[in-house]
């Protein structure tokens, strides 16, 4: 059979196309971005008319997906783990409304925080919303689970979450495709009150969700992705969740594990399999990527005489990504390590690209604030967060999307003046606008820098929702047009930038300074594309 060499994220995208989606909704975020990009670039998806443009943020993405589901069609919504915090209101309530067309939420967690500010575990969100969660252990399962996920969602009448982690998202393997399923026809829900969560209706629907839990557990019990293999050795059992199963197999290359193994890939955790396990094991080790979700669960349901170990017990580290070596140690197996890293090797942290406009903005900002005490600049999530590192050391916060504007406002309210916010164009339209409205309504004395490189750059140059709209948004929110300044961050305008900063710092109210210059990575990509078009005008 023809194998496609797919990244985990690409397998998910192909699974969604083949699973019959009519649209994908997402906001870029590592490690989930390439799912939507793959669909955007897929000729098959274009031919099928699958909509795939970026949303302004994860909440708008989730709600639009729910709307598509309401209209009877299959849809996928994708985000990184922290994106689900933004979409949480819609997400939790969508478990209560239920779905009409199949809805799959793919969330990519980032244990070890390769490109994130925390390593929260989306399985908790799945449990919180009380919906089924699928956790593929490899790229083929990722494809299959997503492709079949829409049907599962329609059968169980709730959204289904597919949870992956960075390692699976960004690792390639051969994937065999299955047949393409047809898209659904437009069809409204049979019950016109299904999506109306007035308290009286919500109470009824919530009871319905509670009643369905048994059905979800049954579905997990008979899921072909959950495997239970009884072992000869009764002293020990292992529950391996999602990709952790591979780290277990790596330690038993001859398929010679003597212990009972439960490969868990579909939640809620089926109690009946746990009961079997309890009869066959004196101790159970839980291998799971992320938080000790299953470890806590089984500690609560197992009798006290079964010892439970995992991330909580210290058998595995409490934080960070798993690997075959950590699992080997937890299994009491010997590991080997190569030579030590020589002492002269130094870290090579990421940095702003040479020629990037954020650099010129930070140089001017640093000079303008030199006469004040430090600690006055609040920032946000994007390439410009690298302004926290030397040589700039310009910013003092990076918490969540949009928090620069609101934290600067709060600090100014407390008397820290001047207070400056540094936010990117796409982060501004993601979650900065409402904070700016608060500041305008309160007459807060802040300077908001919108460092506009006209793309979502940290995630690879996706189209920004803010493109061409920033000044009109700021005016619309109520910022005085005299204090909306637009500059080009280039070395030759350094003096002008410093002077503008000083003028707007002196103004007692909300100022917005837009520093606008195309991301140099995006510019290089655009030039390459133009050259290609020129060389091959027919393509």
């Amino acid at each position: 059979m023809q194998k496609n060499l797919f990244l985990g994220v690409e397998a998910i995208a192909q699974g969604a196309i083949d699973g019959g989606i009519s649209g994908v909704y997402a906001y870029p975020g590592t490690p989930s971005t390439e799912i939507t990009e793959f669909i955007q670039d897929s000729e098959l998806a274009t031919k099928k008319g699958i909509r795939s443009k970026w949303s302004a943020n994860e909440k708008t993405a989730y709600e639009a997906a729910l709307g598509m589901s309401y209209a009877g069609k299959r849809t996928m919504v994708c985000m990184k783990h922290v994106g689900l915090n933004v979409a949480a209101d819609a997400f939790i309530n969508s478990a209560i409304t239920g779905i009409n067309g199949g809805l799959v939420l793919t969330v990519a967690d980032d244990p070890s925080m390769h490109s994130s500010q925390n390593e929260q575990d989306s399985r908790f969100y799945g449990k919180f919303a009380m919906i089924p969660v699928l956790e593929p252990s490899n790229q083929q399962e990722a494809y299959d689970m997503v492709r079949e996920g829409f049907e599962l969602s329609e059968q169980l009448e709730v959204p289904v979450m597919v949870r992956i982690t960075t390692r699976l998202a960004h690792s390639r393997a051969g994937v065999v495709r299955n047949t393409e399923l047809e898209q659904n026809a437009l069809q409204l829900p049979g019950d016109p009150s299904q999506f109306v969560l007035l308290p009286a209706i919500a109470r009824k629907r919530y009871k319905g969700l509670l009643e369905k839990q048994e059905q979800f557990e049954k579905a997990a019990k008979k899921s072909e992705y959950n495997l239970y293999k009884k072992g000869e050795d009764k002293s020990f059992g292992i529950i391996a969740c999602g990709i952790a199963y591979n780290y277990l197999l790596e330690n038993y290359p001859e398929d010679d594990c003597p212990y009972t193994v439960f490969k868990l890939a579909q939640y809620p955790v089926p109690q009946k399999i746990l009961d079997k396990m309890a009869k066959n094991c004196e101790e159970v080790l839980v291998l799971e990527e992320g938080y000790p979700v299953v470890e806590e669960h089984i500690k609560a349901v197992f009798k006290k005489d079964i010892k439970v170990s995992g991330r909580l017990s210290g058998a595995l580290p409490r934080d960070g990504e798993l690997n075959a070596d950590l699992v080997a140690k937890a299994l009491g197996k010997e590991t080997q390590v190569g030579a030590d890293v020589p002492g002269l090797v130094v870290n090579r942290p990421p940095a702003l690209c040479q020629g990037c406009g954020h650099q010129d903005m930070y140089k001017a900002l640093n000079e303008s604030l030199d006469k004040y005490t430090k600690g006055r600049v609040f920032s946000d999530i994007g390439c410009y967060t690298l302004g926290a590192l030397p040589p700039y050391k310009s910013i003092y916060s990076c918490v969540d999307m949009g928090a620069s504007v609101t934290m600067a406002k709060g600090a100014a309210d407390a008397g820290l003046i001047p207070a400056v916010a540094v936010i990117g164009d796409s982060t501004f339209t993601h979650s900065g606008i409402t904070g700016l409205l608060d500041a305008v309504n309160d007459g807060s004395n802040i300077v908001v820098v919108i460092s506009d490189n006209e793309s979502v750059s940290m995630t690879g140059g996706q189209e920004s929702s803010a493109l061409g709209k920033i000044e009109s948004i700021c005016t619309g929110v109520g910022v005085d047009p005299k204090h909306i300044r637009v500059l080009t961050p280039l070395k030759k305008y350094h003096e002008l930038m410093v002077q503008t900063f000083e003028e707007e710092i002196a103004y007692e109210g909300v100022s917005v300074i837009v520093f606008r210059r195309e991301c140099i990575q995006a510019a290089a990509k655009r030039l390459r594309k133009q050259k290609k078009m020129k060389d091959n005008p027919n393509k």
């Binding site: 960004h170 390639r172 702003l352």
Partner: protein, 193 residues
């Protein structure tokens, strides 16, 4: 057959192009392959690594365990040293000697090269220089790929087919130049291993 390769470099140096050529060859040989990449923040000039695993039986983990890599293939000399704990006692280090200096505290190059020479099995090659001599500095990654082939259990002809496949869209001249770069790297490694 099993070859576990750590591919190392700096974000933007294009180590994934090497991986995609080997991957193409492996899939055409009906081999199993897993390749974990670094995406995201580190791509902005940070240290990047890719774990590339090829075997004729199914591969379990996406990451190579410590002390098990058959090869560290690095397009930058300091980055070659960063992953030594992954190298098996019988493994090879194949590294470019041209440094990529984007940090103020980059160590003395001579000291880095001395550390590489302390390794029991290594090939240190100035891929940038060889690529420039061939006529395109951007082919240095393919020089490195060629230098790694004596230690990868896939016939070099199959990898050449991968090069043709990956570069054919860019025209015959580009394919020819990359094949030359590949051969130059391979010859150097065979003479200097």
């Amino acid at each position: 057959m099993k070859t576990d390769i750590i591919l190392a470099g700096v974000g933007g140096q294009g180590i994934l192009s090497i991986a995609s050529i080997i991957g193409d060859a492996a899939i055409n040989e009906n081999l199993y392959l897993k390749q974990a990449e670094t995406h995201g923040m580190s791509q902005r000039g940070g240290a990047v690594v890719s774990h590339l695993r090829i075997a004729d039986t199914e591969i379990a983990a996406d990451l190579i365990p410590m002390g098990k890599a058959d090869l560290i293939l690095s397009v930058e000399p300091m980055e070659a040293l960063r992953y030594l704990p992954f190298l098996s006692p019988k493994g090879y280090v194949v590294t470019n000697t041209t440094p990529f200096i984007n940090i103020p505290n980059y160590p003395e190059l001579n000291e880095i090269l001395a550390e590489i020479e302390k390794q029991p099995r290594f090939v240190a090659i100035d891929a940038d220089k060889i690529a420039a001599e061939i006529g395109n500095k951007r082919a240095s990654n393919v020089v490195m790929l060629g230098a790694a082939t004596p230690f990868i259990d896939i016939e070099p002809e199959k990898i050449e087919a991968g090069i043709e496949h990956i570069f054919c869209k860019k025209g015959e001249a580009v394919v020819e130049m990359n094949l030359k770069a590949f051969q130059a790297g391979r010859s150097f490694a065979l003479e200097n291993k």
